[in-house]
């Protein structure tokens, strides 16, 4: 078990709170929280610059544990909420934290369409391949046949492949990391913050209470870092690499990267944060002239 809370915590990091969490001892979320705190501080952001958006689930509680702006919405609805928040004020750095059920299940439709929009956000998926908050049901990333607290004879659906899904839909930053490797996770979050556009980081995050198969050891034994000469701009190779998961090994790193215009840059008539425009009732006079 890895618990690096104390090693990461710095007294002068304004993002760090003492708020008690409701996560189980040993939960992979702690490492994601601590790494995110550290990274936000290290890249020079202030709490006032950051909006943490989430839906519902164990991962979605995270905005309550970081000292920054927060928007804790409904199950599956973090992504459209983030779209609205980003449109309103693109000066805020949006970091979205959600689980595998929230993201790939309830929120699947929103996810695919916001890849298309390419909104400029960092989306960290705490993927533990199981439902935690509702206590142990299968999730969209639980493998076919895996027994859960609800699927007694094993899952009847195949797991979705989130990275292949994201690459195929044109998400411009597709990465995988592991909560058991905070240094790697930090590197991925930094790169995601630097990326202009939708940045998806799928984080393998063991659920110590409800997933006895995909444990720390299970992930650690299989995960490997992409080779130094791996070219993340080759979409076909990236798609091929994204197929690998399980006993054959699990690639970690930026599988795919493509720089392209982000959503707000496709709306060039908006030249500053939308919230800062002054508006008056008589702004419509010119439209009324057209109705005379």
């Amino acid at each position: 078990m890895i618990d690096n809370k104390d090693t990461l915590k710095t007294v002068d990091n304004p993002f760090v709170t003492n708020n008690p969490t409701s996560w189980c001892p040993g939960c992979g979320n702690f490492s994601i929280l601590d790494t995110l705190n550290k990274t936000l501080f290290d890249v020079g952001l202030k709490p006032q610059d950051v909006l943490l958006v989430s839906g519902i689930g164990q991962a979605a509680k995270l905005p309550h544990y970081i000292h920054a702006h927060g928007l804790n919405t409904l199950h599956g609805r973090a992504v459209p909420s983030a779209l609205g928040a980003h449109v309103a004020n693109n000066a805020l750095k949006i970091i979205l934290n959600s689980g595998d059920g929230d993201t790939y299940g309830e929120g699947g439709n929103h996810l695919l369409h916001n890849f298309r929009r390419n909104i400029d956000i960092v989306h960290i998926v705490h993927n533990n391949q199981v439902y935690g908050l509702t206590k142990g049901q299968g999730s969209p990333t639980t493998p076919l046949g895996q027994v859960t607290r609800l699927q007694f004879d094993g899952m009847r659906s195949e797991a979705i492949n989130p990275l292949a899904f994201a690459i195929s839909l044109g998400c411009g930053f597709v990465a995988r990391s592991f909560s058991g490797d905070p240094e790697h996770l930090e590197e991925m979050i930094k790169a995601a913050i630097d990326h202009k556009g939708y940045a998806l980081i799928d984080v393998m995050q063991p659920c110590v209470s409800f997933n006895k198969i995909n444990t720390y050891k299970w992930y650690k034994d299989r995960a490997f870092k992409l080779a130094a000469d791996y070219d993340p701009t080759d979409k076909i190779k990236a798609f091929e690499m994204a197929q690998m998961f399980g006993d054959e090994g699990i690639p970690m790193g930026i599988l795919y990267k493509e720089d392209k215009s982000d959503f707000m840059s496709r709306i060039p008539h908006i030249t500053k944060p939308l919230v800062s425009y002054d508006r008056k009732p008589d702004d419509i006079e010119k439209l009324l002239d057209g109705l005379v």
Binding site: N19, P47, Q48, L51, V53, I56, K61, P63, H64, H67, A68, H69, G70, L71, N72, T73, L74, R77, P80, S81, A82, L83, G84, A85, H86, V87, A88, N89, A91, L92, N109, H110, L112, H113, I267, H269, I270, P273, L274, V275, Y277, R279, K280, P281, D282, D283, I284, E285, K286, L287, L288, L291, V292
Partner: protein
Amino acid sequence: MRKTIIIAGAAGEGINTVELYVEKLLKQEGYEIYAYKNYMSRVRGGYNYSTITIGQERVYSVESHADLFIALNAEAVENASAQIKDGGLLIALNGLKSKDEFKGKAVWVDEEALKNITKNKNAFGMVAVGMIIKWFGGHESILEKINNKKWSDSINSTNKESAKWGYEQMESAHKPARADEERIILNGNQAVALGALSAGLGFYCAYPMAPSTGIINYLSAHEKKMNIVVEQAEDEIAAAMSAIGSASNGVRSMTGTSGGGFALMVESIGFAAVSEVPIVICNVQRPGPATGLPTRTEQADLAFVVTASQGEFARIVIAPRTVSDAYYSTFRAFNLAEKYQVPVIILSDQLLADSVQSIDRFDTSSLKIQRHLKEDFDPKYKRYDFENISGNRKYPGLDPQTLIMTDSHVHDEYGKVTESEEMTIALKNKFLNRIEVIKKELSAPEFYGSENYDTLFISWGSTYGALREAVDELNSRENEVAMISFTDVFPVRENVLEPFIRPDVKIVNVEGNAMNQFGKILRMETGVKFSHSINRYDGRPFTSAYIADAYEVIKND
């Protein structure tokens, strides 16, 4: 003078173009206009018609039968007898195969002669425009205004020629009443969009759904001019949630839909309420349940929208009565939403959305955007202070220091999740107190009719127009009737009916639904019971004749 034109044909034959020019040109000649579209849920074919009622005095609803009936095809000629007044005039091409089926007064336009001017198959529509303008005594020069920037010069010039040729074929029967003042002409969807823009709308996100699509179309057409963002969402859940996401960051935001899409927004309404994010949602009603009648009208979503979402909280429901009211009420909706940090639902319907009315230009100088924000930094600021019923809102970035947590749970004053009994009660009590304060602020119903009424009609929303004309008609027949009509339909205060209720007065509830939804809300909240009701639920709008006829049946009960 009150005359009605019906333009009938198939989708794609130019009904809308004829309607548009007739409305625009007759309005400019000083006539009052009220027009309504009766169309099927299809892109081509079918039997559609637009009804335009024209007067020298204000018009509040369309008549069901025509003085001038423009038939664009053979099927329209077959239907004409049923939709034309005694002595009404049919105008159609003489080559239509159903010509002999119509026995009334008609002007049969020479199809061969028209071909000398143009071979365009829809040219007859423009001929009809010229004939109508002449019939109403319009000047020939006004036909020069037939011009559409989207069309080529040659089409515009052929259209003008066709209209002028039609003008020559017709006799004048009327004279315009007065010169055009600063009047504008628009429909209910456009009025909602303009009300939102005047209120400072920054972001509109919606999924297309009849009959609400006109709102997003209008806003999108003016997106750049108004410096706003208009986005087509992947579904109505996303539309509502992204509007909330935007509103929670300080931008006035709105979504619009019809009942089916509103059903998908239900969870978002509860979220907006508990997170105290001001959001405006327009539900342009059509008959339900499920797919219902996509392009028809009904007032049957009221009971649904006043209770939509689990849990108990404050909300405001506003049902505009006229095109003008749609503008001012939408403007007010944004101020109310931000004052009380509640969801405000604008309950329109297909009748209002697709009704074109000539009205006074909006008085934007009378309006003030009131945001009710707490702009200064305050170290003791609590975003969700339980004592705070109105105003005092902050959003991220409003001041450079305060951090804002927007949350969907039961939460403490700072937005932190809690399960404490004390906080749970404090939060609920705040919502209850808010409802009571809102009740006092909402406007009273408008009274119209005879002061010595023995019958009082009660209505809400778009039923106003037809009912108002029915009241005039019935009082001209020596009845003593009056009406009250509500724009602010929820929440209602207990004493709202007191000024209007007398022991000897018959109360007649008039609603475009079968179950008297508003009548029941009034009974629940005020204890006042209606004795009779007039309902319409065939997907078509009330007309004054429909209401007056129904009144004659119950009058002596």
